[in-house]
């Protein structure tokens, strides 16, 4: 009860109530808030799924207390409170969808039951059962024939036939005896339910029920007569539904479907108007104004326009368990609550995380609205059946800072890009058409460049062309020129200091050669100070002493006076001395 910030939500919520053993097992689609007594105090209405196949109940809470319970015959798929008539005082009815039926409660008492129309039955199936009834075929035969119908039929078999096909052989006789006299029925079940205002946008205006079925249909029901006002078909089974607008004016039904797509249905179109194909399956769907926020199984939250244009996508820290809208018009607050599997509930405005609520258990259903007399109440139920009520502080403010990593706001600002020229368009077309060839040509050229570079390198290594010093402190470059026909040659070594500003001193040149072949006038020479950039020619004379017409390599070393290893080495391929022939 203390207002100490223990839940890590920045002190924005007051912990009004937490009952970890409330025994409420439900989802966001089966929970609603409504003023069921006409005293301006909202009650919490929950379709409790119970545990397993029993304990399904319609439960009503007032404040912290459970005030009413009604048993449900089947698992609830959805629950909505809606105004079905104009009677005073304005008290809404509660509709619970389960199986093929909608159970309507008024004043918390069963009032009306609507059952979906049965589906067409495969005539072949009907024939086969007819024959079984008349004793023309035995159960084994019946089984075979039904099996073949099941395989090729475009109209699916009834539940009865499917059940029959799954029986063990010792059970079939009894089953046929039991059911053969009864007519075959094929029923679909309701997967999701929503409400649609009939003709006014008033808070307490009469609403139609909108239901999605396992048969991929969407029905809109008249609130008073419970007749089908409108039927629309989807390519696949709807699982989550959002409805906005008015039936008589214009409306929009957004459904997330089992094939991982979202379809948008409009008035006067039997087929979906827009389709969003998601990259993974939707878990939650919430409309915020005109946009939609979808939570997917790949731990992402995505925003779309009402026409299906993707606006943004963010990655969440854990899988989504449930989602709900947080709408507080008196404070101009519209956001999306996302329950996560890591025991957190995140509040997002667009892609920005406004607040994080830590919960003691994973949240499975969320509902935000007026509860009791408090407008900003957040109701959550947990996996372990707990009930949690938090109230938004009157003083709470949510900073709309862009806290999520991702493209900065500036990125979505439109740049003034000039119009595309014809040349640009032609080039783009060419690139699009010849992409492969261009890519190949590029790789061919790249390979050629590499080969040329490698060759040049090898050549430079082999011929010691203008060797360069690898020392960083004394960068040197040298080339050698041999002049003359022999036996006397003039050897000129051009040395250059390639440093940008530092001169090099105390250098010397030494030669290594076969002294049976050559004699060098100055085998050791001192080099003057090398000013950066200038080329210094160092000359000496080489005498070839052999007369056998052979030549050899003379190795040149540029040395620093204090170092034993040379700074630079060059190999000079001496030409064959031709002078001997003359003499």
């Amino acid at each position: 009860m203390s207002s100490v910030d223990s839940s890590g939500d920045g002190g924005k919520w007051l912990d009004a109530h937490y009952d970890p053993v409330a025994g409420l097992y439900t989802f966001s689609s089966c929970i609603d808030l409504a003023d069921l007594s006409g005293d301006r105090e909202s009650r919490l209405v929950v379709g409790d799924l119970g545990t397993g196949s029993s304990g399904m109940k319609l439960k009503v809470y007032r404040g912290t207390a459970l005030i009413s319970e009604n048993s449900l015959l089947d698992l609830p798929a959805g629950l909505v409170a809606f105004f079905m008539d104009l009677h005073e005082p304005r008290i809404p009815a509660v509709a619970v969808a389960s199986g093929p039926c909608i159970y309507v409660y008024k004043n918390l008492r069963p009032y009306f039951k609507f059952t979906l129309p049965s589906l067409d039955i495969n005539p072949l199936e009907q024939d086969v059962w007819q024959q079984a009834r008349e004793g023309q075929i035995d159960p084994v035969m019946l089984k075979e024939m039904l099996e073949s119908i099941r395989k090729k039929a475009d109209v699916p078999l009834s539940v009865r036939s499917l059940r029959f096909l799954s029986l063990e052989s010792d059970e079939v006789d009894e089953f046929v005896q039991l059911y053969k006299q009864q007519p075959i029925r094929r029923q679909t079940v309701i997967t999701c339910i929503g409400t649609l205002k009939k003709s006014t946008a008033d808070e307490d205006g009469i609403s139609c029920l909108v239901i999605g079925t396992e048969n991929s249909d969407v029905f809109i029901l008249d609130p008073e007569a419970f007749t089908i006002l409108c039927k629309m078909s989807l390519p696949t089974v709807p699982t989550i539904m959002d409805v906005t607008g008015q039936f008589d004016v214009e409306f929009r039904i957004t459904v997330a479907c089992r094939n991982g797509s979202i379809y948008i249905l409009r008035r006067e179109s039997e087929k979906p108007k827009y389709c969003i194909e998601l990259s993974s399956h939707p878990v939650g769907l919430v409309r915020v104004g005109k946009n939609m926020v979808v939570g997917c199984t790949d731990e992402s939250l995505q925003g779309f326009t009402q026409k299906g244009k993707k606006l943004w996508k963010i990655i969440l820290p854990a899988p989504v368990t449930t989602m709900a809208a947080m709408d507080l018009p008196t404070r101009g607050l519209q956001a999306v609550l996302v329950g996560l599997a890591n025991c957190q509930v995140h509040l997002y405005r667009d892609k920005n995380l406004l607040s994080t609520i830590k919960t003691p258990d994973t949240v499975t259903s969320i509902c935000f609205g007026r509860y009791g007399r408090e407008d900003g109440t957040l109701i959550m139920t947990t996996k372990g059946g707990g009930l949690m009520v938090k109230i938004l502080k009157r003083t709470a403010v949510f900073d709309d800072m862009d806290s999520t990593p991702g493209p900065p706001l500036a990125q979505s600002v439109r740049l003034n890009v000039p119009k595309k020229t014809k040349l640009y368009v032609d080039q783009t077309l060419r690139e699009r058409e010849n992409g492969l060839a261009m890519h190949r040509a590029f790789h061919m050229d790249l390979s050629r460049t590499r080969v040329a570079a490698a060759r040049a390198y090898v050549k430079a290594l082999e011929s010691s062309l203008t060797p360069m010093s690898s020392s960083l402190s004394k960068p040197l470059k040298m080339n050698a020129v041999v002049q003359g026909l022999g036996p006397s040659f003039k050897l000129t070594l051009n040395i250059q200091n390639t440093a940008s500003c530092r001169p090099i001193m105390n250098l010397a040149i030494n030669f290594l050669y076969d002294d049976n072949l050559y004699r060098i006038r100055n085998p050791y020479m001192k080099i003057p100070l090398l000013v950066p950039g200038l080329i210094y020619p160092v000359e000496t004379f080489v005498e070839c002493t052999s007369d056998k017409g052979i030549s050899d390599i003379i190795k040149v070393f540029v040395l620093h006076e204090e170092k034993s290893s040379p700074l630079l080495t060059a190999h000079i391929n001496m030409p064959v001395s031709e002078g001997l022939v003359l003499s």
């Binding site: 009860m1 203390s2 207002s3 007051l14 912990d15 009004a16 109530h17 404040g63 912290t64 207390a65 008196t330 404070r331 509860y371 009791g372 007399r373 408090e374 009520v389 109230i391 502080k393 009157r394 003083t395």
Partner: protein
């Protein structure tokens, strides 16, 4: 006739008008309490409520009551804070049967007590744990625990269980209030409380 006659009689010793601020969440029973307190001849002057903001005022001789709902929208907050400065005593009404909103009442009380015009004033605060006649109502002890009243150290305070419809508990509260007006105490015992107010 009215429960206030005695109180205002006491206060009549002073020429100055005394402002009592009656606060609490909506539906806690403030209007009902005030109606019980009103002398039969006092004409209530009610300011027309704007959405989310509702002020009631009435005067009885030297006593002026201002009542408002502490819930609703925050943008009206500055309107009621305007009355804090001139207040000489506070009546804070709690709906003891509204367990869910006890945290909201506490939040509003804490905000109120830490307001700059209130926190340094040693004015008496009277709590009515109202609607104790209802079956699921909390006791006044429980209410005072949930509101952490023991933390109020610098102001005289008192909590009374009440049933505003029948008027039960109101007299006890007013008797306490009478004995705790700072200027009344100072009138009686100048030495101790003279520096207050």
């Amino acid at each position: 006739m009215g429960l206030l006659d005695k109180l205002s009689g006491w206060l009549g010793l002073r020429k100055k008008e005394v402002n009592v601020l009656c606060l609490g969440l909506d539906n806690s029973g403030k209007t009902t309490i005030i109606n019980q307190l009103k002398p039969s001849n006092t004409a209530a002057q009610e300011i027309v409520p704007t959405i989310g903001f509702n002020i009631e005022k009435f005067k009885s001789s030297s006593l002026s009551f201002t009542v408002f709902d502490m819930s609703g929208q925050s943008r009206y907050r500055s309107l009621w804070e305007h009355y804090y400065k001139e207040s000489n005593a506070i009546i804070f009404v709690i709906d003891s049967s509204d367990k869910l909103r006890m945290v909201v009442a506490k939040e509003e009380l804490d905000n109120f007590l830490s307001h700059e015009d209130i926190c340094n004033k040693k004015i008496p605060v009277l709590f009515f744990a109202n609607k104790t006649d209802l079956r699921d109502a909390l006791s006044s002890v429980k209410v005072s625990q949930m509101l952490c009243l023991e933390n109020i150290k610098d102001k005289p305070w008192h909590i009374c269980a009440s049933n505003a419809i029948k008027g039960e508990g109101l007299q006890e509260g007013l008797d306490w209030l009478q004995g705790n007006f700072p200027f009344l105490s100072s009138y009686r015992d100048n030495g101790e409380n003279g520096s207050q107010n």
